[in-house]
């Protein structure tokens, strides 16, 4: 190819030769890349079309409106056997989001605790925390999921011998059964009260910051806001005559019916995901805190700040900026790892849609394509949110 370019008459010897001009070379290179990518894509599409046709496989998205005909153990929206495959997609998606969101919450809390514990000046606690990290980080997640699922199942009693920690709360091998709140007429007022309390807290925080900037006086914002957010809805609830009943679980036949249930699949997956991810988050938190130079802590102490305030006002705001980017990728990992649900039968997207639906319809390409798209979208949304949070945090810096 090079010799072609050299021979070309359009390159007089006085000017830079075509091949030696970086701009033109870059152009050619990029055109080649585009062509190459298109050729590969075209090759794939052609083959696929041909293969699908010659093997008589149905294509298209019409299957989404067909009746699914199988049951799903946990669904956040209305679902029955007569629902369509499109609805199974939705159910799976919501279940994935549910376990990911809960997992992110618990993993973050646990990870921060373990991370701080690793830096504890209590030798035993620090060692225990690092043993936790080293054990759970180095064992495949899949194995941990199996362990929690079958270990937990083995430890729990059968429905008839349920463990009953409180009235109307039952724990057995089929899950954790709790009464479900059933809002009656008039309960909307409580929601409004909550909304007002949150808005009030925001206003309060703004006002106290202004006052602090102006006068230096502190106002106990957090406590007041907490009291407001919990108190106001409670008062309204009481005033409006407690418009809430409970749907209580009761043992009928084989199982408990009514109430809310946390199925063991969800619990095991959640525990495994949280414990596994927390080990990584702990390391991130530890290195984030260690990245704040000692001078900062000493300077803050010298100013007379209490130990809690040193952490809250000086160390954490600075370390958070170091922590957020790697934390984001852990969150993304957790979302992706939630797809291991399929191994223990938690009805997430991969299990319900890329598993059962794919098998019943045989339309691999459409199903896998949709599944991948969902994970990509979730990843992009989470990264976008965390980036936004990060820039906000970064702005606090002067």
């Amino acid at each position: 190819m090079q010799s072609d370019a050299k021979k070309s008459p359009s390159a007089p010897s006085t000017k830079t030769r075509f091949w030696h001009d970086p701009a033109k070379r870059a152009l050619v290179f990029q055109i080649l890349l585009v062509l190459g990518v298109f050729a590969v894509l075209w090759f794939i599409v052609q083959n696929t079309l041909h293969n699908l046709e010659s093997r008589g496989i149905t294509t298209g998205f019409a299957f989404l409106s067909q009746e699914a005909g199988f049951g799903i153990i946990q669904s956040l929206v209305e679902y029955s056997e007569s629902s369509s495959y499109g609805q199974t997609f939705l159910v799976g998606l919501l279940n994935t989001i549910l376990v990911s969101a809960l997992g992110i919450f618990f993993a973050t809390v646990l990870g921060f605790i373990i991370g701080v514990a690793r830096l504890s000046n209590n030798w035993l606690v620090a060692k225990l925390a690092s043993a936790y990290v080293e054990i759970f980080r180095n064992i495949p997640l899949l194995l941990q999921i199996f362990f929690w699922y079958f270990a937990v199942l083995r430890a729990l009693p059968s429905p008839r011998q349920s463990f009953q920690p409180f009235d109307n709360v039952f724990l057995n091998v089929r899950g954790l059964f709790m009464p479900q709140p059933m809002p009656q007429q008039g309960f909307e007022l409580v929601w409004w009260a909550l909304l007002i309390a949150i808005a009030g807290s925001v206003v309060l925080a703004r006002w106290s910051k202004k006052r602090q900037d102006a006068t230096g006086q502190l106002f106990p914002v957090y406590k007041t806001a907490l009291a407001l957010i919990i108190g106001l809805p409670l008062i309204v609830f009481w005033l409006s005559g407690s418009p809430l009943t409970w749907d209580e679980p009761a043992l009928r036949g084989f199982n408990f019916r009514g109430g809310m249930t946390i199925i063991p699949e969800l619990a095991a997956l959640l525990v495994a995901l949280s414990i596994y991810t927390a080990a990584f988050i702990a390391e991130i938190v530890r290195s984030g805190i260690q990245a704040v130079s000692k001078g900062q802590t000493e300077a803050a102490s010298a100013l007379g700040l209490s130990k809690a305030k040193v952490l809250r006002l000086v160390v954490i705001p600075q370390s958070v900026r170091v922590i957020i980017p790697p934390l984001t990728s852990q969150y993304l990992n957790l979302i992706k790892n939630s797809s291991l649900a399929t191994a223990i039968g938690y009805p997430d997207l991969v299990s319900v849609f890329a598993g059962t639906t794919l098998n019943q319809t045989g339309q691999a390409i459409e199903v896998i394509f949709m599944t991948m798209l969902v994970y990509l979208t979730l990843s992009l949304l989470v990264s976008a949110f965390m980036n936004w949070f990060n820039t906000r945090m970064a702005l606090v810096e002067r």
């Binding site: 049951g71 799903i72 199982n255």
Partner: protein, 337 residues
């Protein structure tokens, strides 16, 4: 620019590469390769199960071996590809395997929209329930509200939903990826009943640590004819797989076994001679003594059944529907003439 035309040329080459596609039939590629690629389960006692040396045995495995004996003259020229329920059809569609012999139920939509063809029935099965004895349940109609362990991606999943809906009962489906996990889930008490094809229930029961604690309920809630399948569009191969099974059934009917076939052939019985390929051209495109090779190396249907599922096995399943047609069962093969 010449590069572009070069790219175009290579793209054209790629296209022509695709154009070559349909040329070779499955039989030719099997002969060329020297072995049959057969999709089986990842491990189900009695149907297809690897021992600790990696040797596969079972009813489904014997069907694969019969096809290898017919096409290549050697029953051991099979490459077993363990597949789970979810990937079995795509493996066949994509050509990764030549045939699928993996406790697969013959249904209309599978024949119609998956691009596959069932070649026959190796085992007439029906879906049933396995339940712990101490619950004291006598009939499947008492199962309202029960938690049910099911293996994902099977017709069982649909049948169970239909059955409970039909009888105005509710149930909680607990779905597992493999049959082992389903058994484990049942054993741990996660569900009250396990539902699967009845024959598999027996196979699963021996995996329990205390098999006598569980019983199989009498109800059969569906028809589950299990058989081998091939890709659509290759009739030659379809015929070979179909007739390999029929040869086994016919052999049992004629009383030919792997032990006596050599002796029986000397007796001059025209039926047996035809069976062994004398004075008949099968037109299947394989060696004339293909049926002889199947019986000699694999055995007849009854032998295979007994060895893998029946009294010669730990499963001890009755012949039932799978007895020959003249013995009160459903197994019937068209004549070989």
């Amino acid at each position: 620019m010449k590069k572009i035309s070069l790219m175009a040329a290579s793209a054209a080459m790629a296209l022509s590469f695709t154009g070559l596609a349909q040329a070779a039939g499955t039989l030719d590629s099997v002969k060329e390769r020297g072995y049959v690629q057969c999709g089986v389960t990842t491990g189900l006692p009695g149907y297809s199960n690897p021992d600790d040396k990696g040797n596969w045995t079972g009813m489904d495995v014997d069907v694969c071996r019969a096809v290898a004996a017919a096409t290549l003259g050697a029953a051991d020229k099979v490459k077993y590809i363990p597949l789970n329920a979810k990937e079995r059809f795509t493996a066949l569609q994509s050509g990764e395997i030549d045939m699928l012999s993996r406790v697969t139920t013959w249904t209309l939509t599978r024949d119609g929209s998956l691009g596959v063809n069932f070649t026959g029935v190796t085992y007439y099965d029906g879906q049933g329930f396995l339940i712990s004895k101490k619950l004291g349940v006598k009939s499947a109609l008492e199962l309202d509200g029960a938690s049910v362990c099911i293996q994902a991606g099977t017709t069982t999943e649909l049948n169970a939903a239909d059955y409970f809906r039909e009888n105005k009962m509710t149930f909680e489906p607990v779905v597992f990826d493999t049959s082992d996990q389903t058994v484990k889930g049942f054993e741990s008490g996660r569900c009250d009943v396990l539902t699967s094809d009845q024959s598999q229930l027996y196979a699963m029961r021996i995996k329990l640590s205390n098999p006598s604690n569980a019983v199989v309920l009498p109800e059969i809630i569906s028809k589950e004819p299990l058989g081998p399948l091939v890709r659509q569009g290759d009739d030659e191969w379809f015929n070979i797989v179909k007739w390999s099974l029929y040869a086994m059934i016919n052999a049992e009917e004629m009383g030919l076994t792997s032990k006596n076939i050599d002796k029986m052939m000397t007796k001059g019985n025209p039926n047996i001679d035809r069976f062994a390929g004398k004075g008949i051209t099968s037109g299947l495109g394989i060696s004339g003594d293909w049926a002889y090779q199947i019986v000699k190396q694999v055995g007849n249907y009854g032998e295979a059944f007994d060895r893998n599922l029946g009294n010669g096995s730990p499963l001890k399943i009755e012949r039932g529907l799978n007895a020959l047609w003249n013995k009160g069962g459903l197994q019937y093969a068209p004549p070989m003439r």
